[in-house]
Symmetry: C2
Subunit: 315 residues, 2 copies
């Protein structure tokens, strides 16, 4: 579907239920509530739903009250796979009328799909839809869209950012979005448990092959000690690869009977080939596998495989 | 001076020496080399100078060779105070013909000054000058300007960012600046010594008053153990204040006979008042002082003062 077709379709609907993905992030919520406020401005009944509770840092996106109704139209935003709707919303998995998304992996499960995988965030597509619906975005919508843009790009740092992303963010600031307040909330506030986890993870850091390989671990014991939740572990696995001189960054994450391994590599070393040795796979720069055993034995095995790969690549 | 006046002045000059500030950052270098490439494109002789060696991560900004000559015109970029030229360039302190800057604290030391303190970076002003000179910015200039923009804003995260900043960055991407590569170089690469310091600093973290106060320490022992240099400590002092629920963030930095204290506070608590108790001062949200004694005694004193301030503020 094009943006225009999507707008025409939405204009003909009412009682619109908007679905976000589980473990909600700034883009699914920002896009979802952005659409919500736009539809409401058009006088339509609408509602946003998510399987998981909305994390408190996103509180500013929420309306004071939300109506509840029997939906005529179901729209999924930033949801690549119906499984990502989560348990509480699984009843809608086969009944999505429209999906708006930017993930190249979108499974095409909805009756209609507007997919643009060159967009850094679904929010980048959503603002076009909102404008296409004839709604003049207010501050609230601008903050929703800005939130989606900045969270899906690591504050405009990642490779998905285009000049369009930056110009859209600029437009949202001109519409009154308090970018600095949102950035602080998203990027400069860490929970005590997260800080404690960073300390634990740095304590676990080991180097091999003259510092060309770095490995960190996230164990169940650490989680118990710090009280960190799943959502507080975001980004930890990028720590090893961000260290100067490191060619292979390894993260070992404890599971009931072993360790889930995440590998990040620089050019010339294929992470998926290393992980394939252990029945795993993925991409050239990021791949994963599972190893049974203790931390020491799993770490030993994957580091040895990483050393072999470096030597083969002549690094 | 206006941008137009600045351009008219530069058009009439040749043999232009461009001065950056000491401990050079991405903005002084990006603005300086951006101007350098523009003047060279106009057929003028030009040269960039800095008191300190240029950090290796900025290597991509440099030309292959730079001529040396007896300057007719001296331009300081992003230099708020002639003292910041550093020792090696102090001979030029009284002879700066033109200063281009965005610091509100600029001392007006140059014969001509173009100061715009609403610009997030000097690079934001510099691209206007380059265009005003009639130079069509190439990739090299675009990467210089983008570098200044992203480094002075923490990758578009700080309160100095305006929609103009984002649009200028978008323009630089359209001109071919590899924003992602620059971002990675600037923000996602940490030295092993820096990582080791982060670990040490997190190990030193203590909380007081139910987690409303957090203090970290940077001791000479830590520096010796990790081999971290001064430039690798950037941003460490913001760690305590970024922790959720923390109202006063304290950093103790060891000096020969005591500790230099940096205080960061949230609204309602005046950091400068707390520091004034110990003969220090600063701003309401960020202030400093010096305490003689051991880590334990200095930390005890400043934490007690912070507790008092919280109680007075009813926090």
């Amino acid at each position: 579907m094009t943006v225009q077709q999507t707008c025409e379709y939405l204009q003909g609907q009412d009682r619109i239920l908007i679905l976000c993905h589980q473990s909600p992030d700034g883009d699914t919520l920002g896009s979802g509530f952005g659409l919500y406020y736009a539809l409401r401005a058009m006088g339509k009944q609408t509602q946003v739903a998510c399987s998981d509770p909305i994390p408190p840092q996103f509180g500013y996106l929420l309306p004071e009250t939300m109506p509840s109704f029997d939906p005529q139209c179901v729209v999924a935003v930033d949801v690549a796979d119906p499984q990502l709707l989560g348990k509480a919303l699984s009843c809608w998995a086969d009944r999505v009328d429209l999906c708006i998304d930017h993930h190249p992996s979108n499974r095409g499960y909805a009756a209609r799909t507007l997919l643009r995988d060159t967009a850094a965030a679904t929010a980048e597509i959503m603002i076009e839809i909102i404008r296409g619906l004839g709604v003049q975005p207010d501050v609230k919508i601008a903050e929703c869209i800005y939130t989606g843009l900045c969270t899906d790009t690591g504050c405009f740092q990642y490779s998905n950012v285009t000049s369009d992303t930056l110009r859209t963010a600029a437009d949202m600031m001109d519409l009154g979005a308090n970018a600095y307040r949102i950035n602080r909330q998203m990027f400069s506030t860490k929970s005590k448990a997260r800080i404690a986890m960073e300390r634990e993870v740095l304590d676990s850091l080991v180097y091999a092959l003259d510092g060309k390989i770095a490995a960190i671990a996230v164990t169940s014991e650490m989680l118990a000690r710090t009280g960190a939740r799943e959502s507080e572990l975001d980004g930890l696995s990028s720590i090893p690869r961000e260290i100067e001189g490191v060619k292979i960054g390894i993260t070992l994450r404890e599971r009931p009977d072993g360790f889930k391994i995440s590998l990040r590599t620089v050019e010339r070393i294929d992470a998926s080939v290393i992980c394939a040795r252990f029945g795993g796979g993925g991409h050239a720069r990021a791949a994963g596998c599972f190893l049974e055993g203790t931390l020491e034995s799993c770490r030993g095995k994957i580091i040895q495989a990483a050393i072999d790969a470096c030597k083969e690549a002549g690094i």
